[in-house]
């Protein structure tokens, strides 16, 4: 691990802070992204935020399943479907960045990326339908998760290392 050298007097301290900040951004070969509060305004921030919301909705689906209240899963599943419709439009050219976990494949394999988002959207709508009709939430959740995972594995950088 890279460790910045501690500065002992005031003058190099500013430099040390700068260095530490730089290291924070460049650790693990440049693939570092911070909490979204540290992301500058723009598409990277917005899509990160949207995915955080998707995660919250997904948690709500899990909670509904656990509580035996499938009706509570309908709204969050529909929210996820809506988010996934918007999501593939949030990658304008030039928004690739070390701050982002987006892989270049998003731009070079755009059709596949769009298709994966569509599959995710369909799985979310199927989950909403299952939740409405008292169908198998667990099975529908499993299918939706596979679409999340499939897209992450192809189009998202791992969080650390690798």
């Amino acid at each position: 691990m890279i460790r910045s050298k501690r500065a002992t007097s005031a003058a190099p301290r500013a430099a040390a802070i700068g260095l530490a900040a730089l290291l924070a951004l460049s650790a693990a070969g440049g693939a570092a992204w911070a909490d979204d509060k540290d992301l500058p305004p723009g598409p990277i921030h917005d899509r990160h935020e949207l995915m955080e919301e998707v995660g919250d909705h997904a948690k709500a689906i899990g909670d509904a399943a656990k509580a035996g209240k499938p009706a509570d899963a309908v709204k969050p599943a529909e929210e996820i479907a809506a988010a996934l419709e918007k999501f593939p439009t949030m990658f304008p050219a030039g928004s690739e960045s070390p701050l982002s976990r987006a892989k270049p494949e998003i731009w070079t394999q755009k059709a596949e990326f769009d298709d994966m988002a569509k599959k995710g959207r369909e799985a979310a709508l199927a989950l909403a339908a299952a939740a409405k009709s008292g169908g198998d939430l667990k099975a529908a959740s499993g299918k939706m998760f596979q679409t999340c995972k499939g897209c992450h594995e192809h189009f998202r950088k791992p969080e650390e290392g690798e």
């Binding site: 460790r3 530490a20 693990a28 998760f145 791992p158 969080e159 290392g161 690798e162």
Partner: protein
């Protein structure tokens, strides 16, 4: 980039090397890990390969021994540590380059005692101190499974050890840090006892999730509290029951989902080493292929692990925060 890389810390390695050398001076042949008598007892009966496949799945597929694209068990995977680069060994039953010519006892000694056929001690990159607690029945079944693998002819690659007198250093390390386990004859069958056993001696979760000290030994006081010095620089999360920094907010079902299909409560998927542990490598079974009741036992045990408040962050991030 596999499970099992040790924590990286600069500066203290020289101290560690000197201490190991000093320890060498007083090292006799005495060991650590499981006792040879226990290993003889374990292999006195014949193992069952299909049950052994379940043990392998619960061990996360022993992925260090399988190259990313296979073949299973062929070894040669580079594992980088602060003490050098180590290469996993061929554990297929090839007569010349694998374990085909080894006796069951020799294989048992290697897994639980860290001892190789020529009497030398393995580099502790192989987590034999943790496998030392593996039950006799699981061990002999695992050996039977290894013997059922297709033999692959692939020479082992020499480690590039960054320590003086590595053979003595590994022997000293075993004496100092490996403990003296007395493995049970049969594995606990169910409940939290089974979960604890699987966590500590088969799945060896602590091998990645417990931080290591400057000698590369596990810091017991930080049991399962996570570390920023995981394999390949991965952040390894705190899996103690601390609500804020660990998995205290997860229930057993959440944990089973993670172990079984790599799914987190927000439907995100695990990546990196944990994905390999769940999915297995190159077709070898991982945790996802293990029986659900075993994964549930692990989950139930993890919920009993005392909470340790420990937020795992990248070192550089920590320094940035301190400097604010």
């Amino acid at each position: 980039m596999r499970p099992l890389a040790h924590r990286r810390r600069r500066g203290s390695r020289r101290v560690a090397a000197l201490a190991l050398c000093a320890a060498c001076a007083c090292v006799s042949a005495c060991g650590g890990g499981a006792d040879a008598g226990d290993d003889a007892r374990a292999v006195a009966l014949r193992g069952d390969a299909s049950r052994g496949e379940r043990v392998l799945a619960l061990a996360g597929g022993c992925g260090c021994h399988t190259p990313e694209k296979g073949p299973v068990g062929a070894g040669g995977v580079a594992i980088e540590t602060p003490f050098g680069t180590f290469y996993s060994t061929n554990v297929t039953p090839d007569e010349e380059t694998g374990i085909g010519a080894w006796s069951d006892l020799e294989i048992a000694r290697a897994i639980r005692g860290g001892e190789l056929r020529d009497g030398s001690v393995e580099a502790p990159v192989m987590p034999y101190p943790e496998y030392a607690g593996m039950a006799d029945d699981d061990l002999r079944d695992l050996i039977a499974y290894l013997r059922s693998l297709p033999p692959v002819r692939r020479e082992n690659r020499a480690h590039q050890v960054d320590l003086p007198l590595p053979r003595l250093a590994f022997r000293a390390w075993r004496m100092l840090f490996a403990g003296h386990a007395r493995p049970p004859e049969t594995a606990p069958r169910d409940g939290v006892a089974r979960g604890r056993y699987l966590t500590d001696h088969v799945g060896i979760c602590g091998d990645c999730h417990t931080p290591r000290d400057r000698f590369g030994a596990l810091e017991r006081a930080m049991y399962l509290a996570g570390t920023p010095f995981g394999p390949g620089g991965e952040l390894v999360p705190n899996i103690t029951s601390d609500r804020e920094t660990g998995i205290g907010g997860w229930d057993v079902g959440d944990l089973v989902n993670l172990l079984q299909i790599g799914m987190k409560p927000d439907f995100d998927n695990v990546q990196g080493s944990m994905a390999e542990v769940v999915d297995g490598v190159a077709g070898a079974p991982g945790l996802g292929k293990a029986p659900e009741e075993d994964l549930r036992a692990i989950a139930e045990y993890l919920k009993t692990v005392p909470p340790i408040h420990h937020r795992v962050v990248r070192e550089a991030t920590k320094e940035k925060e301190e400097d604010r």
